[in-house]
């Protein structure tokens, strides 16, 4: 399996999804070699073996981290090829790189590729280096099928397929259209299309994405199979957070980029605040649209009820959910969208856009078109004012989320494998 991140070192939903999926696959007895650009050493390798691509010695030596578990190995490829990265996250990641640099070089033996560690003009170069390493690695390892997650690893997947003749499954967590709207990066699009075309089968995380794959990339429908994401069972006790504000809190949490629809959230806030001053809106996260949104909020004169938190880390996210009365995900285009599930797990009612994959699996959520600001505002108002509504969400929401298990998704992925292998 080729990925680019693995918990706890993740920038987006992909690492979490890969982790959940590999655990689910391991549950069904599938053995996995997982290749990532970088291994930090503190990843959960109980089910898998992580491989660092950076550690791959092209003179046929496999890096040994002293942690070889039975079912999964984990490979690292030293590249910061993370497609959606906030400025803060990026600097942190790069900072971590430096910190880990010394440890890594000590561990690694033999000749290896040095990945630049910068995200920018070298990206394409790194993608192709990753592919070269992948091909080398594929010859060393014993496996039945190649599974590549998102476009950065498609070249690697295709290289591995050409090197070994084993079937390739590519997994679409997001397409270039989700990331960039209509202004797609042609190079990225080409790689995506090449990956999907070369693959034996394509897995999409939702029917919403499947439709994009079929219509925008021209992939035959019978080749594209939807396997919805799930959520990791969470046994942790939720800390009870005491609210210190009398007002109800409505939260947006995510990258503040075009794709996530933050401006629709602002417009809905204006509508709600016209009727009801007893609400505060919180926008948590950062992104290229942040400054524009702040400017917008100020000029609309709602800044006294509209707050920005910046980028939130793990425990802060939990706290934010605990404080929230409503969670809104107004994404313009969201292949899946795992954060509403996290909100529901914290007993927070959610409003999600119909243009999201998660809307296909959730019943106990209010679904609106991202552009339908009236409906969004109305749903926010309803959730804040009609107690029966939040009560029913508490009754049903959490159990619904808990029923979305990775085991089930993994079982579907295994069916895809079997189909690809012609079994």
């Amino acid at each position: 399996m080729f990925g680019w991140e693995f918990p706890p070192h993740i920038a987006g939903g992909l690492g979490t999804a890969c982790y959940g999926l590999t655990k689910g696959l391991a549950y069904h007895g599938v053995k996995i070699d997982f290749v990532v650009p970088k291994v930090y050493g503190d990843e959960d390798q109980q089910q898998i073996t992580l491989h660092s691509a950076e550690g791959v010695d092209l003179t046929e030596k496999v890096v040994n981290f002293g942690k070889f578990y039975e079912q999964m190995r984990y490979f690292e490829i030293g590249a910061n090829i993370v497609p959606y990265l906030s400025p803060e996250e990026f600097s942190i990641l790069v900072g971590e790189d430096v910190a880990h640099e010394s440890a890594k070089t000590q561990k690694v033996l033999g000749r290896k590729f040095r990945f630049s560690g910068s995200y920018g003009k070298d990206l394409m170069l790194e993608v192709s280096r990753y592919a070269i390493v992948a091909a080398a690695l594929a010859r060393q390892l014993d496996f039945d099928i190649i599974h590549a997650h998102d476009w950065l690893t498609y070249a690697a997947g295709v290289a591995a397929k050409r090197a070994t003749g084993k079937p390739l499954v590519v997994h679409i967590h997001a397409t270039e259209f989700d990331r960039s709207g209509e202004n797609v990066n042609q190079q990225v699009y080409n790689i995506e299309r090449m990956g999907m075309t070369e693959a034996d089968l394509v897995i999409s995380v939702s029917n919403f994405t499947r439709q994009i794959v079929i219509s925008r990339y021209g992939i035959p429908p019978e080749k594209v199979i939807t396997v919805h994401n799930a959520v990791e069972a969470d046994e942790r006790e939720r800390e009870q957070y005491k609210k210190y504000l009398p007002e109800k809190i409505v939260t947006f949490l995510g990258r503040i980029t075009y794709q996530k629809g933050p401006d629709y959230f602002v417009q809905a806030a204006v509508k709600v605040l016209q009727k009801d001053q007893n609400v505060r809106f919180v926008m948590a996260g950062s992104g290229d649209m942040l400054n524009r949104i702040i400017h917008n909020v100020a000029s609309l004169g709602i800044a006294d009820k509209f707050h920005f938190t910046g980028f939130l880390r793990g425990p802060e996210v939990t706290k934010m959910f605990a404080m929230s009365d409503v969670y809104v995900m107004p994404s313009v285009s969201e292949p899946f969208g795992i954060s509403p599930l996290e909100a529901m797990r914290s007993n927070v009612p959610v409003i999600i856009s119909k243009q999201s994959g998660v809307a296909e699996v959730l019943k106990h959520a209010i679904k609106v078109d991202f552009w339908d600001v009236d409906a969004m505002a109305d749903a926010i108002y309803g959730l804040l004012h009609y107690r029966a509504l939040s009560r029913i969400f508490k009754n049903y929401g959490k159990s619904e989320v808990d029923s979305l298990k990775w085991d089930n998704s993994a079982a579907k992925v295994i069916q895809v494998y079997q189909k690809a292998l012609g079994l």
């Binding site: 016209q274 109305d378 309803g382 029966a388």
Partner: protein, 494 residues
């Protein structure tokens, strides 16, 4: 001889328009005229007009032998008057044949039978008056919204003179017994209950066009052969369904009209074994075989045949309770328009749209549902209700005032009873015992006074005065009670 009793339910709700919270306080148009007109027109073309035409032809053809019955909800009638006078005419033409019976129900197709007996009976009266006005026919048999029935509901309509009621032949109620007999209501044994044969009814309503069904395609001949195959002791087969089944739920392409066209012919081929009957004839001609005990309300919906489709979750219960909190307040209003809107809001469909059951129970619940999810339906309804409360001036305070007044009234009535009782006791004692000190007289005078103030305070509107009088009543009663009791003790001592 088995009787075949066919009854069609004709109902369409006044659907609410998308009503946002920013409309609250500004806009008091709650109903989606455009959508409602479209639905009525569409169903008129597909079902009401062609089906009425067909039934008219059949009734004329089989003079006096083919009979059917309808229940037209008041909200349907109102929409028909508004959007489809041609449909009304076709029903009137059917009514003139005298082979068509119209049943009584609640005007607004509401679930008020579960909530408020007085309003329930009012709604039935209003409906019955409307039917009489339009069709010159006074309904004799009652069917409740969605066939909701219990012993108590039966008794409530018996008070209005309905000796027959329609109900679901629910397995939970019948057990091993057959729905194909007339039963009696155990708490008013004169009332007869006709039970729906859900198997045969749903063969048409749900399965008719289902090609996966092993009996597909269903012909009139085959269907009637099932009537005959039934136990020969069976007395009546009750086929109850939505009228929209003909042509709308089961499209014309499915052959439903041909099925209906040949149904009477197939039945009448067996003149010794089968005949058509209307509900009122059935309750006149057939004797109940035994009482049927229905303590908890049943309905004709879903597998469970209970109320969970309308009142199964918190959203539905909340909306339902909030709506009926207004009942007494609305009773006091004079404005006919307000009363009309209030009744339209009670239509059961509004609660049906809030059902979370359709997540699992599928297609039927989605039918004609203008909302994407139960949550949207609930928010929309609550927005409307909030505005309606503002518009009519119903506030929490008024509700509390009303409740307090009711409590005060109740307490005062108790006091009056208590005082009357004590008065009679003292008077008895007075007669028996030798007349004593004057205190007896004074206390009885005080009692009279207390009674007067109580009756005075009954004039509702002056709440503040009420408080005072309440106090004085209480004081008076306290005084008088203490005195009279003392007196009593004295008398006893003597």
């Amino acid at each position: 001889m088995k009787k075949v009793c066919i009854y069609f339910q004709v109902h369409q709700p006044y659907r609410l328009r998308t009503y946002r919270f920013f409309d609250i306080g500004l806009n008091h148009n709650y109903f989606d005229d455009y959508a409602n007109r479209n639905y009525i027109r569409r169903i008129a073309e597909r079902c009401y007009l062609p089906a009425n035409q067909l039934l008219y032809e059949l009734i004329t053809k089989y003079k006096g032998k083919f009979k059917i019955s309808f229940s037209l909800s008041g909200v349907f009638i109102d929409q028909m008057l508004e959007y489809a006078p041609d449909v009304l005419e076709s029903f009137q033409r059917l009514a003139k044949t005298k082979q068509v019976e119209f049943l009584a129900e609640t005007y607004s197709h509401s679930l008020v039978s579960l909530k408020d007996k007085v309003e329930f009976q009012d709604q039935i009266r209003a409906h019955s008056a409307k039917i009489e006005e339009l069709f010159n026919y006074k309904p004799k048999v009652f069917r409740n919204t969605e066939l909701v029935y219990s012993n108590q509901i039966g008794a409530d309509v018996f008070e209005l003179g309905y000796e027959g009621v329609l109900a679901e032949g629910a397995k939970a109620v019948l057990g091993w017994r057959s729905p194909n007999f007339v039963y009696a209501n155990p708490i008013c044994p004169k009332q007869k209950v006709l039970l729906r044969n859900f198997k045969l009814s749903d063969d048409i309503a749900f399965r008719f066009s289902n090609q996966m069904w092993d009996q597909w395609p269903l012909t009139a001949e085959k269907y009637v052969s099932w009537f005959l195959a039934h136990d020969s002791k069976d007395e009546i087969i009750n086929i109850f369904m939505d009228y929209e089944t003909i042509g709308e739920h089961q499209r014309a392409e499915s052959g439903i009209f041909e099925f209906l066209r040949y149904l009477p012919e197939e039945v009448l081929k067996h003149p010794k074994e089968l005949e058509f009957i209307t509900p009122s004839e059935a309750i006149k001609q057939l004797k109940p075989i035994s009482p049927i005990n229905v303590e908890h309300p049943t309905s004709w919906a879903d597998e469970e045949r209970d109320l969970t489709a309308w009142l199964g979750n918190d959203l539905q219960q909340d909306a339902f309770n909030k709506l009926y909190e207004m009942q007494e307040f609305i009773n006091m209003q004079q404005d006919a328009e307000i009363k009309k809107i209030y009744r339209y809001l009670q239509t059961s469909d509004h609660f049906y749209y809030m059902s979370t059951k359709w997540f699992s129970d599928g297609e039927v619940h989605k039918y004609f549902n203008p909302f994407g999810s139960p949550y949207e339906a609930y928010i929309n309804f609550r927005n409307v209700l909030n505005d309606f409360m503002l518009y009519t001036g119903f506030t929490c305070d008024i509700r509390h005032d009303l409740e307090r007044l009711k409590k005060v009234n109740r307490r005062q009535e108790e006091i009056i009873l208590e005082l009357k009782h004590l008065l009679s006791v003292t008077e008895k004692n007075k007669k028996r015992a030798v007349p004593k000190k004057k205190s007896t007289d004074t206390s009885s005078i005080k009692v009279d006074k207390a009674e007067k103030t109580v009756t005075k305070s009954k004039s509702k509107k002056e709440t503040t005065k009420q408080k005072d009088t309440q106090k004085s009543t209480q004081k008076a009663s306290e005084k008088s009670t203490s005195k009279t009791t003392q007196k009593k003790i004295n008398n006893k001592g003597n």
